[in-house]
Point group: C2
Chain length 325, copies 2
Protein backbone atom coordinates (compact mmCIF):
# COMPACT_ATOMS: atom_id res chain seq x y z
CA UNK A 1 0.00 0.00 0.00
CA UNK A 2 1.52 3.30 -1.04
CA UNK A 3 1.94 6.05 1.52
CA UNK A 4 -0.26 9.10 1.06
CA UNK A 5 1.43 12.33 -0.03
CA UNK A 6 1.30 15.36 2.25
CA UNK A 7 -1.63 16.72 0.22
CA UNK A 8 -3.52 13.41 0.43
CA UNK A 9 -2.90 13.24 4.15
CA UNK A 10 -4.22 16.76 4.67
CA UNK A 11 -7.24 16.15 2.48
CA UNK A 12 -8.07 12.85 4.20
CA UNK A 13 -7.50 13.59 7.86
CA UNK A 14 -7.46 17.33 8.42
CA UNK A 15 -9.58 19.06 5.76
CA UNK A 16 -12.77 17.71 7.42
CA UNK A 17 -11.79 19.65 10.57
CA UNK A 18 -11.39 23.00 8.83
CA UNK A 19 -13.48 26.00 9.82
CA UNK A 20 -14.72 28.65 7.38
CA UNK A 21 -11.43 30.62 7.58
CA UNK A 22 -9.49 27.47 6.68
CA UNK A 23 -10.70 27.20 3.05
CA UNK A 24 -10.71 23.40 3.26
CA UNK A 25 -6.95 23.66 3.92
CA UNK A 26 -6.43 24.20 0.18
CA UNK A 27 -4.66 27.53 0.60
CA UNK A 28 -1.25 28.58 1.91
CA UNK A 29 -2.85 30.70 4.56
CA UNK A 30 -5.89 31.04 6.75
CA UNK A 31 -8.18 33.96 7.37
CA UNK A 32 -9.59 35.27 10.60
CA UNK A 33 -11.94 38.21 10.80
CA UNK A 34 -11.84 39.28 14.44
CA UNK A 35 -15.24 40.24 15.79
CA UNK A 36 -15.52 44.06 15.83
CA UNK A 37 -14.18 45.65 19.01
CA UNK A 38 -12.15 42.62 20.01
CA UNK A 39 -8.41 42.03 20.26
CA UNK A 40 -6.76 38.84 18.99
CA UNK A 41 -5.01 36.75 21.65
CA UNK A 42 -2.35 34.31 20.45
CA UNK A 43 -0.60 31.43 22.13
CA UNK A 44 1.53 28.52 20.95
CA UNK A 45 2.71 25.36 22.70
CA UNK A 46 4.74 22.48 21.32
CA UNK A 47 4.59 18.92 22.67
CA UNK A 48 7.41 16.50 21.91
CA UNK A 49 6.96 12.72 22.26
CA UNK A 50 9.06 11.43 25.13
CA UNK A 51 9.37 14.94 26.60
CA UNK A 52 5.81 16.22 27.05
CA UNK A 53 3.87 12.99 26.64
CA UNK A 54 4.50 9.27 26.49
CA UNK A 55 4.97 8.02 22.93
CA UNK A 56 2.49 5.23 23.63
CA UNK A 57 -0.23 7.51 25.02
CA UNK A 58 -3.45 7.08 23.02
CA UNK A 59 -3.33 9.32 19.92
CA UNK A 60 -6.69 10.82 20.90
CA UNK A 61 -5.26 11.84 24.29
CA UNK A 62 -2.20 13.42 22.66
CA UNK A 63 -4.43 15.40 20.30
CA UNK A 64 -6.70 16.61 23.10
CA UNK A 65 -3.79 17.61 25.31
CA UNK A 66 -2.04 19.49 22.48
CA UNK A 67 -5.11 21.61 21.82
CA UNK A 68 -6.27 21.98 25.42
CA UNK A 69 -2.99 23.26 26.86
CA UNK A 70 -3.33 26.14 24.40
CA UNK A 71 -7.00 26.69 25.21
CA UNK A 72 -5.98 26.83 28.86
CA UNK A 73 -3.69 29.76 28.01
CA UNK A 74 -6.54 31.52 26.22
CA UNK A 75 -8.85 30.96 29.19
CA UNK A 76 -6.29 32.50 31.55
CA UNK A 77 -6.17 35.61 29.37
CA UNK A 78 -9.96 35.99 29.50
CA UNK A 79 -10.21 35.10 25.82
CA UNK A 80 -12.63 32.91 23.91
CA UNK A 81 -11.25 30.54 21.25
CA UNK A 82 -11.56 31.47 17.57
CA UNK A 83 -9.46 28.79 15.84
CA UNK A 84 -6.11 27.04 15.69
CA UNK A 85 -3.18 26.14 13.43
CA UNK A 86 -1.53 22.74 13.66
CA UNK A 87 2.07 21.80 12.93
CA UNK A 88 2.62 18.06 12.88
CA UNK A 89 6.15 16.68 12.55
CA UNK A 90 5.75 12.98 11.79
CA UNK A 91 8.47 10.35 12.10
CA UNK A 92 8.83 7.94 9.19
CA UNK A 93 7.00 5.11 10.99
CA UNK A 94 3.69 6.96 11.41
CA UNK A 95 0.60 4.80 10.94
CA UNK A 96 -2.68 5.72 9.32
CA UNK A 97 -4.77 4.32 12.17
CA UNK A 98 -2.78 6.46 14.61
CA UNK A 99 -3.31 9.57 12.51
CA UNK A 100 -6.98 8.79 12.03
CA UNK A 101 -7.58 8.58 15.79
CA UNK A 102 -5.49 11.71 16.37
CA UNK A 103 -7.39 13.75 13.78
CA UNK A 104 -10.82 12.57 14.94
CA UNK A 105 -10.13 13.57 18.54
CA UNK A 106 -8.74 16.91 17.44
CA UNK A 107 -11.87 17.50 15.41
CA UNK A 108 -14.11 16.56 18.34
CA UNK A 109 -12.29 18.91 20.67
CA UNK A 110 -12.25 21.68 18.09
CA UNK A 111 -16.02 21.35 17.76
CA UNK A 112 -16.61 21.06 21.51
CA UNK A 113 -14.58 24.20 22.24
CA UNK A 114 -15.80 26.19 19.20
CA UNK A 115 -12.21 26.31 17.98
CA UNK A 116 -11.95 25.05 14.38
CA UNK A 117 -8.77 24.14 12.54
CA UNK A 118 -7.71 27.03 10.30
CA UNK A 119 -4.48 25.76 8.77
CA UNK A 120 -1.09 24.29 9.47
CA UNK A 121 1.88 22.43 8.16
CA UNK A 122 2.80 18.75 8.05
CA UNK A 123 6.47 17.81 7.84
CA UNK A 124 8.50 14.66 8.21
CA UNK A 125 11.16 14.42 10.89
CA UNK A 126 13.90 11.94 11.73
CA UNK A 127 13.15 12.86 15.37
CA UNK A 128 10.19 12.15 17.64
CA UNK A 129 6.60 13.04 16.85
CA UNK A 130 6.07 16.72 17.64
CA UNK A 131 2.74 18.52 17.80
CA UNK A 132 2.72 22.29 17.87
CA UNK A 133 -0.52 24.23 18.05
CA UNK A 134 -1.06 27.96 17.69
CA UNK A 135 -4.41 28.94 19.19
CA UNK A 136 -6.19 32.18 18.43
CA UNK A 137 -8.74 33.74 20.69
CA UNK A 138 -10.46 37.07 21.05
CA UNK A 139 -11.18 39.34 23.97
CA UNK A 140 -12.92 42.71 24.26
CA UNK A 141 -10.44 45.45 23.32
CA UNK A 142 -8.03 46.22 26.11
CA UNK A 143 -9.42 43.44 28.36
CA UNK A 144 -6.76 40.74 27.93
CA UNK A 145 -5.79 39.67 31.44
CA UNK A 146 -2.00 40.02 31.73
CA UNK A 147 0.36 37.99 33.86
CA UNK A 148 1.90 41.31 34.94
CA UNK A 149 -1.26 42.84 36.40
CA UNK A 150 -1.31 41.57 40.03
CA UNK A 151 -1.29 44.43 42.55
CA UNK A 152 -0.76 44.65 46.30
CA UNK A 153 -4.08 44.08 48.03
CA UNK A 154 -5.42 41.67 45.40
CA UNK A 155 -6.78 38.33 46.52
CA UNK A 156 -5.29 35.22 44.96
CA UNK A 157 -7.59 32.55 43.58
CA UNK A 158 -6.98 29.18 41.99
CA UNK A 159 -9.56 27.16 40.08
CA UNK A 160 -10.38 23.47 40.51
CA UNK A 161 -7.89 21.30 42.38
CA UNK A 162 -4.10 21.30 42.33
CA UNK A 163 -1.64 18.42 41.98
CA UNK A 164 -3.91 15.80 40.45
CA UNK A 165 -1.96 15.64 37.19
CA UNK A 166 1.47 15.42 38.84
CA UNK A 167 0.17 12.64 41.09
CA UNK A 168 -1.44 10.99 38.06
CA UNK A 169 1.94 11.06 36.34
CA UNK A 170 3.58 9.58 39.46
CA UNK A 171 1.10 6.70 39.27
CA UNK A 172 2.64 5.80 35.93
CA UNK A 173 6.02 5.32 37.60
CA UNK A 174 4.47 2.84 40.03
CA UNK A 175 3.46 5.11 42.93
CA UNK A 176 0.05 4.77 44.55
CA UNK A 177 -0.57 1.08 44.00
CA UNK A 178 -2.48 1.08 47.29
CA UNK A 179 -5.01 3.64 45.99
CA UNK A 180 -8.58 2.58 45.08
CA UNK A 181 -9.08 2.07 41.35
CA UNK A 182 -11.48 5.00 40.97
CA UNK A 183 -9.00 7.40 42.58
CA UNK A 184 -6.23 6.08 40.34
CA UNK A 185 -8.44 6.51 37.31
CA UNK A 186 -9.35 10.06 38.29
CA UNK A 187 -5.72 11.13 38.74
CA UNK A 188 -4.52 9.39 35.59
CA UNK A 189 -7.24 11.13 33.60
CA UNK A 190 -6.36 14.51 35.09
CA UNK A 191 -2.83 14.02 33.74
CA UNK A 192 -3.91 12.81 30.30
CA UNK A 193 -6.86 15.10 29.67
CA UNK A 194 -6.53 18.67 30.91
CA UNK A 195 -9.83 20.58 31.16
CA UNK A 196 -9.29 24.12 29.90
CA UNK A 197 -11.19 26.50 32.16
CA UNK A 198 -12.77 28.42 29.30
CA UNK A 199 -15.97 28.85 31.30
CA UNK A 200 -14.02 31.11 33.65
CA UNK A 201 -12.70 33.41 30.88
CA UNK A 202 -15.55 35.90 31.13
CA UNK A 203 -15.20 36.24 34.90
CA UNK A 204 -11.45 36.80 34.51
CA UNK A 205 -11.84 39.42 31.78
CA UNK A 206 -14.40 41.23 33.88
CA UNK A 207 -12.78 41.10 37.31
CA UNK A 208 -9.15 39.84 37.44
CA UNK A 209 -6.18 42.21 37.51
CA UNK A 210 -3.78 39.42 36.52
CA UNK A 211 -3.93 35.72 35.66
CA UNK A 212 -2.08 32.79 34.17
CA UNK A 213 -2.68 29.10 33.85
CA UNK A 214 -0.87 26.65 36.11
CA UNK A 215 1.11 24.44 33.75
CA UNK A 216 4.45 24.02 35.55
CA UNK A 217 3.29 23.73 39.16
CA UNK A 218 1.43 26.07 41.53
CA UNK A 219 4.44 27.27 43.53
CA UNK A 220 6.67 28.04 40.57
CA UNK A 221 3.93 29.53 38.42
CA UNK A 222 2.71 31.81 41.21
CA UNK A 223 6.34 32.92 41.70
CA UNK A 224 6.52 33.65 37.96
CA UNK A 225 3.38 35.75 38.12
CA UNK A 226 4.72 37.68 41.12
CA UNK A 227 8.05 38.33 39.36
CA UNK A 228 6.18 39.51 36.27
CA UNK A 229 4.01 41.79 38.42
CA UNK A 230 6.75 42.94 40.83
CA UNK A 231 4.85 42.00 43.98
CA UNK A 232 4.82 39.24 46.63
CA UNK A 233 2.21 36.54 47.18
CA UNK A 234 1.45 35.26 50.68
CA UNK A 235 -0.33 31.93 50.38
CA UNK A 236 -2.11 29.93 53.06
CA UNK A 237 -0.81 26.48 52.03
CA UNK A 238 -3.69 24.71 53.75
CA UNK A 239 -6.14 26.58 51.53
CA UNK A 240 -4.72 24.97 48.36
CA UNK A 241 -7.62 22.97 46.93
CA UNK A 242 -6.91 19.24 46.72
CA UNK A 243 -9.15 16.54 45.31
CA UNK A 244 -10.19 13.58 47.50
CA UNK A 245 -7.96 11.32 45.37
CA UNK A 246 -4.98 13.65 45.85
CA UNK A 247 -5.68 13.80 49.61
CA UNK A 248 -5.73 10.01 49.76
CA UNK A 249 -2.45 9.71 47.87
CA UNK A 250 -0.80 12.38 50.04
CA UNK A 251 -2.25 10.77 53.17
CA UNK A 252 -0.46 7.54 52.25
CA UNK A 253 2.85 9.38 51.82
CA UNK A 254 3.03 13.02 53.00
CA UNK A 255 6.11 13.66 50.86
CA UNK A 256 3.76 13.66 47.86
CA UNK A 257 2.31 16.98 49.02
CA UNK A 258 5.34 18.86 47.68
CA UNK A 259 4.90 17.06 44.35
CA UNK A 260 1.27 18.16 44.21
CA UNK A 261 2.19 21.81 44.83
CA UNK A 262 5.17 21.94 42.48
CA UNK A 263 4.37 19.35 39.80
CA UNK A 264 3.11 20.38 36.39
CA UNK A 265 0.13 19.87 34.09
CA UNK A 266 -2.64 21.20 36.35
CA UNK A 267 -4.04 23.56 33.71
CA UNK A 268 -6.00 25.35 36.38
CA UNK A 269 -6.20 29.15 36.55
CA UNK A 270 -4.32 31.39 38.98
CA UNK A 271 -5.92 34.81 39.29
CA UNK A 272 -5.34 38.01 41.25
CA UNK A 273 -8.58 39.86 41.94
CA UNK A 274 -8.95 43.28 43.59
CA UNK A 275 -10.85 42.95 46.90
CA UNK A 276 -13.75 45.11 45.76
CA UNK A 277 -14.28 42.77 42.78
CA UNK A 278 -13.90 39.54 44.74
CA UNK A 279 -17.60 39.04 45.42
CA UNK A 280 -18.55 39.57 41.80
CA UNK A 281 -15.71 37.28 40.66
CA UNK A 282 -16.82 34.49 42.99
CA UNK A 283 -20.44 34.83 41.86
CA UNK A 284 -19.40 34.77 38.19
CA UNK A 285 -17.26 31.66 38.77
CA UNK A 286 -20.15 29.97 40.57
CA UNK A 287 -22.50 30.83 37.71
CA UNK A 288 -19.92 29.42 35.25
CA UNK A 289 -19.71 26.19 37.23
CA UNK A 290 -15.99 26.53 37.94
CA UNK A 291 -14.95 26.10 41.58
CA UNK A 292 -12.46 28.74 42.72
CA UNK A 293 -10.59 28.81 46.03
CA UNK A 294 -9.11 31.89 47.68
CA UNK A 295 -5.58 30.86 48.67
CA UNK A 296 -3.79 34.08 49.58
CA UNK A 297 -3.14 37.76 49.10
CA UNK A 298 -0.78 39.96 47.12
CA UNK A 299 1.49 42.29 49.11
CA UNK A 300 4.26 44.79 48.48
CA UNK A 301 7.60 43.02 48.82
CA UNK A 302 10.30 41.08 47.01
CA UNK A 303 8.67 39.43 43.97
CA UNK A 304 8.13 35.85 45.07
CA UNK A 305 5.47 33.48 46.34
CA UNK A 306 5.62 32.67 50.06
CA UNK A 307 3.68 29.59 51.21
CA UNK A 308 2.78 29.56 54.93
CA UNK A 309 1.86 26.27 56.60
CA UNK A 310 -0.79 25.66 59.27
CA UNK A 311 1.75 26.44 62.03
CA UNK A 312 2.62 29.81 60.49
CA UNK A 313 5.99 28.66 59.13
CA UNK A 314 7.27 29.51 55.66
CA UNK A 315 7.45 26.39 53.55
CA UNK A 316 10.44 25.66 51.37
CA UNK A 317 10.37 23.41 48.33
CA UNK A 318 13.31 21.56 46.85
CA UNK A 319 12.28 22.79 43.45
CA UNK A 320 9.50 25.24 42.75
CA UNK A 321 8.25 23.96 39.47
CA UNK A 322 8.45 21.36 36.80
CA UNK A 323 10.51 22.14 33.73
CA UNK A 324 10.03 20.31 30.45
CA UNK A 325 12.96 22.19 28.98
CA UNK B 1 29.18 26.99 33.14
CA UNK B 2 25.58 26.22 33.93
CA UNK B 3 23.02 26.05 31.15
CA UNK B 4 20.42 28.80 31.12
CA UNK B 5 16.86 27.83 32.01
CA UNK B 6 14.10 28.27 29.45
CA UNK B 7 13.14 31.59 31.10
CA UNK B 8 16.75 32.83 31.05
CA UNK B 9 17.10 31.81 27.44
CA UNK B 10 13.95 33.68 26.45
CA UNK B 11 14.94 36.76 28.44
CA UNK B 12 18.45 36.81 26.99
CA UNK B 13 17.90 36.01 23.34
CA UNK B 14 14.29 36.57 22.42
CA UNK B 15 12.78 39.23 24.71
CA UNK B 16 14.83 41.95 22.91
CA UNK B 17 13.02 41.02 19.69
CA UNK B 18 9.52 41.39 21.10
CA UNK B 19 7.07 43.88 19.65
CA UNK B 20 4.49 45.82 21.70
CA UNK B 21 1.97 42.93 21.58
CA UNK B 22 4.61 40.54 22.96
CA UNK B 23 4.79 42.04 26.48
CA UNK B 24 8.53 41.36 26.67
CA UNK B 25 7.64 37.66 26.30
CA UNK B 26 6.69 37.61 29.99
CA UNK B 27 3.14 36.44 29.38
CA UNK B 28 1.57 33.15 28.26
CA UNK B 29 0.02 34.84 25.28
CA UNK B 30 0.45 37.67 22.83
CA UNK B 31 -1.94 40.36 21.74
CA UNK B 32 -2.69 41.64 18.28
CA UNK B 33 -5.12 44.46 17.58
CA UNK B 34 -5.86 44.18 13.88
CA UNK B 35 -6.07 47.55 12.17
CA UNK B 36 -9.74 48.51 11.72
CA UNK B 37 -11.29 47.17 8.54
CA UNK B 38 -8.62 44.53 8.00
CA UNK B 39 -8.72 40.75 8.12
CA UNK B 40 -6.02 38.70 9.84
CA UNK B 41 -4.07 36.33 7.56
CA UNK B 42 -2.28 33.41 9.21
CA UNK B 43 0.34 31.01 7.98
CA UNK B 44 2.70 28.52 9.62
CA UNK B 45 5.72 26.64 8.30
CA UNK B 46 8.05 24.28 10.13
CA UNK B 47 11.67 23.66 9.12
CA UNK B 48 13.45 20.53 10.36
CA UNK B 49 17.27 20.25 10.35
CA UNK B 50 18.36 17.68 7.80
CA UNK B 51 15.00 17.85 6.03
CA UNK B 52 14.44 21.53 5.15
CA UNK B 53 17.93 22.89 5.71
CA UNK B 54 21.45 21.61 6.27
CA UNK B 55 22.28 21.30 9.98
CA UNK B 56 25.55 23.17 9.35
CA UNK B 57 23.94 26.10 7.52
CA UNK B 58 24.79 29.35 9.29
CA UNK B 59 22.31 29.96 12.14
CA UNK B 60 21.56 33.43 10.74
CA UNK B 61 20.56 31.87 7.41
CA UNK B 62 18.32 29.30 9.11
CA UNK B 63 16.61 32.08 11.07
CA UNK B 64 16.07 34.23 7.99
CA UNK B 65 14.74 31.34 5.95
CA UNK B 66 12.35 30.25 8.70
CA UNK B 67 10.78 33.71 8.89
CA UNK B 68 10.91 34.54 5.19
CA UNK B 69 9.17 31.41 3.91
CA UNK B 70 6.22 32.52 6.02
CA UNK B 71 6.43 36.13 4.86
CA UNK B 72 6.40 34.79 1.31
CA UNK B 73 3.04 33.15 2.05
CA UNK B 74 1.70 36.43 3.41
CA UNK B 75 2.93 38.30 0.33
CA UNK B 76 1.14 35.83 -1.95
CA UNK B 77 -2.11 36.49 -0.08
CA UNK B 78 -1.77 40.24 -0.58
CA UNK B 79 -1.15 40.71 3.15
CA UNK B 80 1.29 42.88 5.06
CA UNK B 81 3.14 41.36 8.04
CA UNK B 82 1.98 42.20 11.58
CA UNK B 83 4.08 39.85 13.75
CA UNK B 84 5.13 36.26 14.34
CA UNK B 85 5.28 33.47 16.91
CA UNK B 86 8.33 31.22 17.17
CA UNK B 87 8.52 27.60 18.29
CA UNK B 88 12.07 26.40 18.75
CA UNK B 89 12.74 22.73 19.52
CA UNK B 90 16.37 22.54 20.62
CA UNK B 91 18.46 19.37 20.79
CA UNK B 92 20.53 18.89 23.95
CA UNK B 93 23.78 20.00 22.28
CA UNK B 94 22.62 23.52 21.41
CA UNK B 95 25.26 26.19 21.83
CA UNK B 96 24.85 29.75 23.06
CA UNK B 97 26.84 31.26 20.19
CA UNK B 98 24.58 29.45 17.73
CA UNK B 99 21.46 30.74 19.47
CA UNK B 100 22.87 34.24 19.72
CA UNK B 101 23.49 34.41 15.96
CA UNK B 102 20.09 32.86 15.24
CA UNK B 103 18.24 35.34 17.45
CA UNK B 104 20.12 38.37 16.13
CA UNK B 105 19.32 37.51 12.52
CA UNK B 106 15.70 36.85 13.39
CA UNK B 107 15.55 40.25 15.08
CA UNK B 108 17.12 41.97 12.08
CA UNK B 109 14.67 40.36 9.68
CA UNK B 110 11.74 41.08 11.98
CA UNK B 111 12.73 44.75 12.03
CA UNK B 112 13.43 44.89 8.29
CA UNK B 113 10.05 43.38 7.42
CA UNK B 114 8.08 45.25 10.14
CA UNK B 115 7.19 41.89 11.64
CA UNK B 116 8.08 41.76 15.35
CA UNK B 117 8.22 38.67 17.52
CA UNK B 118 5.00 38.37 19.56
CA UNK B 119 5.51 35.14 21.47
CA UNK B 120 6.37 31.49 21.20
CA UNK B 121 7.54 28.37 22.93
CA UNK B 122 10.97 26.83 23.49
CA UNK B 123 11.18 23.09 24.10
CA UNK B 124 13.91 20.52 24.21
CA UNK B 125 13.87 17.60 21.80
CA UNK B 126 15.85 14.38 21.46
CA UNK B 127 15.41 14.92 17.70
CA UNK B 128 16.84 17.46 15.26
CA UNK B 129 16.57 21.22 15.66
CA UNK B 130 13.13 22.30 14.47
CA UNK B 131 12.00 25.86 13.84
CA UNK B 132 8.32 26.56 13.41
CA UNK B 133 7.05 30.06 12.75
CA UNK B 134 3.47 31.30 12.69
CA UNK B 135 3.26 34.59 10.83
CA UNK B 136 0.35 37.00 11.11
CA UNK B 137 -0.51 39.55 8.50
CA UNK B 138 -3.42 41.79 7.66
CA UNK B 139 -5.27 42.60 4.48
CA UNK B 140 -8.21 44.88 3.70
CA UNK B 141 -11.45 43.05 4.57
CA UNK B 142 -12.40 40.53 1.92
CA UNK B 143 -9.26 41.15 -0.15
CA UNK B 144 -7.15 38.12 0.79
CA UNK B 145 -5.99 36.62 -2.52
CA UNK B 146 -7.03 32.96 -2.52
CA UNK B 147 -5.31 30.07 -4.25
CA UNK B 148 -8.74 29.04 -5.51
CA UNK B 149 -9.53 32.26 -7.39
CA UNK B 150 -7.99 31.70 -10.86
CA UNK B 151 -10.59 31.94 -13.64
CA UNK B 152 -10.60 31.08 -17.35
CA UNK B 153 -9.27 34.07 -19.28
CA UNK B 154 -6.88 35.20 -16.54
CA UNK B 155 -3.26 35.82 -17.45
CA UNK B 156 -0.62 33.97 -15.44
CA UNK B 157 2.31 35.89 -14.01
CA UNK B 158 5.36 34.86 -12.04
CA UNK B 159 7.67 37.21 -10.17
CA UNK B 160 11.47 37.32 -10.30
CA UNK B 161 13.28 34.30 -11.72
CA UNK B 162 12.56 30.60 -11.35
CA UNK B 163 14.90 27.71 -10.52
CA UNK B 164 17.77 29.61 -8.92
CA UNK B 165 17.29 28.02 -5.51
CA UNK B 166 17.00 24.46 -6.85
CA UNK B 167 20.15 24.99 -8.92
CA UNK B 168 21.83 26.59 -5.89
CA UNK B 169 20.97 23.47 -3.90
CA UNK B 170 22.36 21.27 -6.71
CA UNK B 171 25.64 23.20 -6.44
CA UNK B 172 25.96 21.89 -2.92
CA UNK B 173 25.93 18.32 -4.23
CA UNK B 174 28.84 19.14 -6.53
CA UNK B 175 27.05 20.25 -9.71
CA UNK B 176 28.15 23.35 -11.59
CA UNK B 177 31.83 23.35 -10.73
CA UNK B 178 32.45 24.90 -14.14
CA UNK B 179 30.32 27.97 -13.32
CA UNK B 180 31.95 31.36 -12.61
CA UNK B 181 32.24 32.16 -8.91
CA UNK B 182 29.77 35.05 -9.01
CA UNK B 183 27.10 32.90 -10.64
CA UNK B 184 27.69 30.17 -8.07
CA UNK B 185 27.46 32.71 -5.28
CA UNK B 186 24.21 34.14 -6.68
CA UNK B 187 22.52 30.74 -6.92
CA UNK B 188 23.76 29.56 -3.52
CA UNK B 189 22.39 32.74 -1.95
CA UNK B 190 19.04 32.31 -3.68
CA UNK B 191 18.76 28.91 -1.99
CA UNK B 192 19.87 30.11 1.44
CA UNK B 193 18.11 33.47 1.60
CA UNK B 194 14.65 33.66 0.04
CA UNK B 195 13.43 37.18 -0.67
CA UNK B 196 9.76 37.42 0.28
CA UNK B 197 7.97 39.49 -2.37
CA UNK B 198 6.14 41.67 0.14
CA UNK B 199 6.49 44.67 -2.15
CA UNK B 200 4.10 42.93 -4.55
CA UNK B 201 1.38 42.34 -1.92
CA UNK B 202 -0.51 45.54 -2.65
CA UNK B 203 -0.60 44.87 -6.40
CA UNK B 204 -1.87 41.34 -5.74
CA UNK B 205 -4.58 42.46 -3.33
CA UNK B 206 -5.72 45.08 -5.82
CA UNK B 207 -5.62 43.12 -9.08
CA UNK B 208 -5.05 39.34 -8.77
CA UNK B 209 -7.92 36.84 -8.83
CA UNK B 210 -5.71 34.11 -7.38
CA UNK B 211 -2.14 33.68 -6.15
CA UNK B 212 0.27 31.49 -4.22
CA UNK B 213 3.97 31.46 -3.60
CA UNK B 214 6.21 29.02 -5.45
CA UNK B 215 7.81 26.92 -2.73
CA UNK B 216 7.75 23.40 -4.19
CA UNK B 217 8.56 24.12 -7.84
CA UNK B 218 6.79 26.12 -10.56
CA UNK B 219 5.24 23.18 -12.43
CA UNK B 220 3.82 21.45 -9.37
CA UNK B 221 2.68 24.61 -7.62
CA UNK B 222 0.91 25.93 -10.71
CA UNK B 223 -0.80 22.53 -11.01
CA UNK B 224 -1.86 22.84 -7.37
CA UNK B 225 -3.33 26.28 -8.01
CA UNK B 226 -5.21 25.01 -11.03
CA UNK B 227 -6.61 22.03 -9.09
CA UNK B 228 -7.69 24.40 -6.29
CA UNK B 229 -9.33 26.71 -8.85
CA UNK B 230 -10.78 23.98 -11.11
CA UNK B 231 -9.23 25.36 -14.31
CA UNK B 232 -6.31 24.62 -16.66
CA UNK B 233 -3.13 26.64 -17.17
CA UNK B 234 -1.44 26.80 -20.56
CA UNK B 235 2.12 27.98 -20.09
CA UNK B 236 4.63 29.10 -22.70
CA UNK B 237 7.66 27.32 -21.22
CA UNK B 238 10.09 29.64 -22.99
CA UNK B 239 8.53 32.61 -21.18
CA UNK B 240 9.58 31.25 -17.76
CA UNK B 241 11.96 33.89 -16.39
CA UNK B 242 15.46 32.54 -15.73
CA UNK B 243 18.42 34.39 -14.26
CA UNK B 244 21.68 34.67 -16.23
CA UNK B 245 23.30 32.30 -13.71
CA UNK B 246 20.50 29.75 -14.16
CA UNK B 247 20.78 30.08 -17.95
CA UNK B 248 24.53 29.43 -17.74
CA UNK B 249 24.06 26.37 -15.57
CA UNK B 250 21.31 25.01 -17.84
CA UNK B 251 23.43 25.83 -20.91
CA UNK B 252 26.18 23.59 -19.53
CA UNK B 253 23.71 20.73 -19.01
CA UNK B 254 20.21 21.07 -20.51
CA UNK B 255 18.84 18.38 -18.18
CA UNK B 256 19.02 20.98 -15.43
CA UNK B 257 16.14 22.87 -17.02
CA UNK B 258 13.64 20.38 -15.61
CA UNK B 259 15.20 20.82 -12.19
CA UNK B 260 14.79 24.59 -12.47
CA UNK B 261 11.10 24.29 -13.36
CA UNK B 262 10.23 21.62 -10.80
CA UNK B 263 12.70 22.24 -7.94
CA UNK B 264 11.63 23.98 -4.77
CA UNK B 265 12.50 27.02 -2.69
CA UNK B 266 11.90 29.76 -5.27
CA UNK B 267 9.63 31.81 -3.03
CA UNK B 268 8.45 33.78 -6.01
CA UNK B 269 4.79 34.63 -6.58
CA UNK B 270 2.45 32.94 -9.04
CA UNK B 271 -0.58 35.09 -9.84
CA UNK B 272 -3.65 34.89 -12.04
CA UNK B 273 -4.81 38.32 -13.19
CA UNK B 274 -7.94 39.13 -15.20
CA UNK B 275 -6.99 40.58 -18.61
CA UNK B 276 -8.66 43.93 -17.94
CA UNK B 277 -6.53 44.34 -14.79
CA UNK B 278 -3.26 43.19 -16.38
CA UNK B 279 -2.02 46.65 -17.33
CA UNK B 280 -2.68 48.04 -13.86
CA UNK B 281 -1.06 44.97 -12.25
CA UNK B 282 2.07 45.33 -14.39
CA UNK B 283 2.33 49.06 -13.61
CA UNK B 284 1.88 48.39 -9.88
CA UNK B 285 4.59 45.68 -9.96
CA UNK B 286 6.91 48.03 -11.81
CA UNK B 287 6.27 50.76 -9.27
CA UNK B 288 6.98 48.24 -6.47
CA UNK B 289 10.26 47.27 -8.11
CA UNK B 290 9.29 43.61 -8.51
CA UNK B 291 9.82 42.14 -11.99
CA UNK B 292 6.87 40.05 -13.18
CA UNK B 293 6.72 37.93 -16.33
CA UNK B 294 3.57 36.84 -18.13
CA UNK B 295 4.02 33.11 -18.71
CA UNK B 296 0.61 31.85 -19.79
CA UNK B 297 -3.16 31.91 -19.63
CA UNK B 298 -5.93 30.19 -17.68
CA UNK B 299 -8.47 28.17 -19.70
CA UNK B 300 -11.49 25.97 -19.11
CA UNK B 301 -10.36 22.36 -18.99
CA UNK B 302 -9.11 19.56 -16.78
CA UNK B 303 -7.45 21.15 -13.71
CA UNK B 304 -3.73 20.94 -14.50
CA UNK B 305 -0.82 23.01 -15.75
CA UNK B 306 0.27 22.33 -19.34
CA UNK B 307 3.72 23.55 -20.32
CA UNK B 308 4.23 24.06 -24.09
CA UNK B 309 7.77 24.20 -25.50
CA UNK B 310 9.07 26.43 -28.32
CA UNK B 311 8.05 23.81 -30.90
CA UNK B 312 4.47 23.71 -29.65
CA UNK B 313 4.86 20.34 -27.90
CA UNK B 314 3.50 19.59 -24.44
CA UNK B 315 6.36 19.05 -22.03
CA UNK B 316 6.33 16.22 -19.54
CA UNK B 317 8.30 16.20 -16.31
CA UNK B 318 9.44 13.15 -14.41
CA UNK B 319 8.14 14.72 -11.24
CA UNK B 320 6.21 17.95 -11.02
CA UNK B 321 7.43 19.28 -7.74
CA UNK B 322 9.71 18.88 -4.83
CA UNK B 323 8.32 17.32 -1.68
CA UNK B 324 9.93 17.81 1.71
CA UNK B 325 7.41 15.42 3.22
Amino acid sequence: MSRPSEDDLIARYFAPLAGPGGFGLKDDAALMRPPPGRDVVLTVDALVAGVHFFPDDPPASIARKALRVNLSDLAAKGARPEGFLLVLALPADWREDWLDAFARALGEDGAAFFCPLLGGDTVSTPGPLTVSITALGSVAQGRMVARTGARAGDLIYVSGTIGDAALGLALRSGAGDDLPADARGFLADRYLHPQPRLALAGALAAHASGAMDVSDGLVGDLSKMMRASGVRARVDSAATPLSPAARAMIGADPRRRALALTGGDDYEILAAVPPDAAGAFERAALAAGVPVARIGVVEEGPPQAVFIDADGRVETFERESFSHF
